[in-house]
Symmetry: D2
Subunit: 352 residues, 4 copies
């Protein structure tokens, strides 16, 4: 259902790609490249990413989408009898049509705090597993899956990540970060993490392009070279090996050669925070303290109607947990959000 002429804030993948990426694709279109991600654009993008991560020994591969990245990483790294810790609302647990289960792995839900996986809950669940007399009757934990920003826009801090690293080392678990919106996290005022921190603290993570400027594409980064060697088999086996792999190379090259990735992510976050502050000024409550490109004000039906009538679209997220009958909605910005549209929305909020 497409509604015309709305100013859209409901998701961060409504447009195509950043103009510089489009330009690069047009420019390289006639080049003859070998297929499957071994061309010079992919090689250069790999080098740029390893450089930013400060580690020449990383392995970098490019996949088209997030579900694909999640399932390929998880299935490639875990033994068949192992599962993956995540929160109830984890993308892999809820919104991937059982893709993880399709390849035989169970999502092992731990209680989240603020949408994040607390290190202490991992430790507790892990110990409970092995203490159990019949642990072999339950799925063996093998990995911790986190998203930063999480589904609710909240970011993991450096101390969150250090704590998770510690428990993973203690327990022999892999730490995997889904970074579908990583750019918006890195440029958030709530984040004290760099790409190099993430590369040091996680066993594997990916840098999302789809939601941060690219037409599509996720760059999976591995610490272990051994894993990396076999990961390309897993990509092909999961149907994720793009024939014209150069398309991924060209896009990530463009995103990382001059810091475009960070510039455009910052723009989105700035827009989102402007919107947040406008709502706060009007005394509107928020679902959480997201500092990234997704903001979740809690609105009454009248307020929702007001914004719809004023021509702004947003996503319905759920009922307010306080039983007040209000609704949690999502206003979402992106690299493509126009400043004048943000200004218009802020004006509407002020007039509310």
């Amino acid at each position: 259902m497409e509604t015309i002429n709305m100013i859209r804030f409901e998701s961060d993948y409504t447009e195509g790609a950043h103009p510089q990426i489009i330009d690069a694709l047009v420019r390289s279109n006639e080049e003859q490249c070998p297929g499957y991600g071994v061309d010079r654009h992919c090689e250069r993008a790999r080098a740029l990413i390893k450089d930013l991560c400060g580690n020449p020994n990383l392995g970098v591969e490019f996949l088209v989408g997030g579900t694909q990245a999640n399932v390929t990483v998880i299935d490639a790294m875990l033994h068949s009898y192992q599962g993956v810790f995540c929160v109830e609302t984890g993308h892999i647990n809820v919104h991937e049509t059982g893709a993880i289960e399709l390849t035989g792995h169970k999502c092992l839900v731990v209680p989240g705090v603020d949408g994040k996986v607390p290190a202490e809950e991992v430790r507790k669940a892990y110990k409970a597993h092995w203490r159990s007399a019949d642990h072999e009757h339950m799925v063996q934990p093998g990995m911790v899956y986190i998203s930063s920003p999480a589904e609710n826009g909240v970011v993991y801090t450096k101390s969150d990540l250090i704590a998770l690293r510690r428990v993973c080392d203690e327990c022999g678990l892999y730490l995997f970060m889904d970074g579908a919106r990583m750019g918006y996290g890195l440029m958030s005022e709530g984040s004290d993490l760099t790409l190099a921190d993430i590369a040091e603290l996680c066993d594997v993570f990916y840098i999302g392009g789809t939601k941060v400027g690219a037409l599509f594409g996720e760059a999976v980064v591995f610490k272990s070279r051994e894993m990396h060697r076999s990961f390309r088999y897993a990509i092909k086996q999961h149907g994720g090996m793009l024939a014209k792999g150069r398309l991924l190379g060209v896009q990530f090259e463009t995103l990382f050669e001059d810091g475009l990735y960070f510039t455009i992510a910052k723009h989105a976050v700035d827009c989102a925070m402007k919107i947040r502050r406008a709502f706060e000024t009007k005394g509107i409550e928020f679902w959480n303290n997201s500092t990234t490109n997704q903001q979740f004000p809690i609105l009454t039906n009248e307020q929702m109607e007001y914004f719809t009538n004023a021509g702004f679209s947003y996503a319905i997220w759920g009922e307010a947990e306080d039983g007040s009958g209000r609704t949690i909605v999502r206003f979402c910005t992106s690299w493509a959000t126009k400043s004048e549209n943000v200004d218009a929305l802020v004006a509407a909020i002020e007039k509310m």
Copy 2:
């Protein structure tokens, strides 16, 4: 390994996309569309394809790549205890890293003739299965998988397809055509099939975009609406649902709104046949009677060297079966092949 300055004939996916497709992507880049293939471009592309197939009741979905299309179709349509008939050289049997097996289905090899699945061999294998006293100890046949053109460039004729349809009806098997290179088949002088014939005779097939003008994309076409309803679950579960689905819609819209798909495929086939005839004139033998964009002359080492030195790249396919020590090589054209490069190659052949 990229060698510079060669005129490349080794594969049909070395370039990006046809300029009209690039233009369409650029033009639509700023549009705000809903994700996951329900936007107006996808809807229009669906309508165009159903129209060309002459059947408004078909289901059409778009996937990024061929392996993904194969595995998603097969896993969505078969019961878990069923397998799929194919030839030894079938792409699903050899070149997809066990993607079909990953989701639990076995490739059931039948003896091919000229790289194609003969209807009679399907009948024989099917009957042998059910006649066996312990048939439950073997994988139950559920589908016939064919590629047209096949891996070796040979096309199925209308009578081939009618015979397969008949045996599939007799045996309760699905007929699935992998059309990764379908355009080159449809425009081949060896083919008497139309898109409408294929849509009538197959239960499911796909029209390949990746190798015929698009950056990527395969349009899967279903006869059964029931299957179609659930197929989108299977796409998501297999990690194949593109967030910015509009990219697929825009490309197939462009390919089919003015017959571009057929024009560019014809160009490639014409180029290939020119090359074939030049070789034939020089008395060079061919591996088979391909009438599509892939041509397989059998060369001596000296001849191979000659072309390499002359600046033409090609793919090594295998040893000649006659024990002569010669090599089957592949010269491959595409929508992107330049006429002047074909002329240069033809001149080189003549001078050989």
Copy 3:
């Protein structure tokens, strides 16, 4: 860890088989039978079960164990993109090491009441699924899995089952009953169901032998003949086809030819209820109102110690939910429980 000389009430599979079953196995040992469950013992057992179910058109197959039965039924009946509703504590969700996920199906947890799946929760979850705009991003519901007795000893009543049947018919879902302890349910005073009721109301269920008199064995009963025809493939594919299938035939023949299954189950339930009443007389609270062979009194540490010192073993189930520090324990009887041991336990309870 085996402790000697305890009177064991901790589980219902500590002994071998009922003596009549042992006799039948010894008697038939020298017979030469065809393998894989098509021998005359299996055929007779099938006939006896269909007779008791009052439906000659049912399909009956025999499997060795419960996890095997669960996973084979679920994987054979569901499409690959479908999942199965169950309660949080469902055996398939917790205690089968991800066997269901191994074959690609997700357990879709609905809120249980008293350990059972309420029909209304199924309806709600089903409707919520299809109402969702992005339902294809979530696992499609295909089946309802229930156990009766459930893990906590509680049985489904006829009206429970009729309500579930109704919602399954409305929604196009299969209804599957895990009957690992079915005998103890059927003979319970809390149950108003007959085997014929179950056969009429469920699409598929199994009658557990392992915990009710047999060395091993579960009899899977199907309503659909079509499913039944292919189910033997699924059994073999899941590694569950017993070479000497006659062993299952002989056991179920013995259990059902003279009502042995019901007599021994009644004995176990009578023993359990005697124990329950003894505890109740002493004012001991129970976790729930189980009327089957598993009873869950809530004991203090002193009380637990008292029984251990008195030579009675039981299973630790969990902490009391009232925060009192007490423990839910399980006393479990079976067809093998000796009346004198029950009397001894009752005496100990009285002296407590």
Copy 4:
């Protein structure tokens, strides 16, 4: 279809268990044991097997059947993108309804010699894989699967096994021996292997009970303790963990405490060789030089009829490869074969 009053030579699992095993099961029936294979019978059987293998560090687990053992071992040891080398006629490739594929692994067929996997073919296939430019598009080899005796009764010799061990070490492949009929191989005059040799040369193997005296049961033996630790998860996940695991313990204890396994296997082999020699004396050709309990004479239709009319059953194996219209049949002995029946058959052969 059961035919009465035939003397049956068509398979080696037509009877129940050896009387000593039945006795042991009867004797231990009332014992209360913990479930799932951690009881004292299993522990003793483990110790006996490790002793016979001459290696206290092995891991031993018991499974119910052969398909289950094959799939659980293969899935537990391989990465998801790896496959297993076997011969065309390998049990896993033909007669397990795609059980291996169900868990995502492809059978990689190498040309067999005399039904066995030649070390040199493994080396060739392995090298060809890694030499290929697009090896990631094919399944990565991870294991070699052999059966000894193979499907055709032929055994691997010590030098066969040493050669396979060497190539597996070179290539980083696991060596896995399916020993469903291992006893008949060990006691064959064609074999120079001991159980200790097998334990030294293979990474994992199993000792078949089902066809060698037991009601059911296969003892899987692992070299690696690390694998062994997680193997019990895999057993449960694949639905193979027997609740009353003691049944497996009791049977293997009986088979190995006094050499019963070897005595009864020798009896079967002696019977089979008597039959072979009788046929040979009459000038009957054999399909191969099996020295184990399966013998494959090549008979004319008249000869087949003669034996059927004389009351002897056998299995039809296939058409003679020489185009003579004769049939390869199988005469199969077992621990249960009665000497007087062998004498009767030999007499019939002589009178032929």
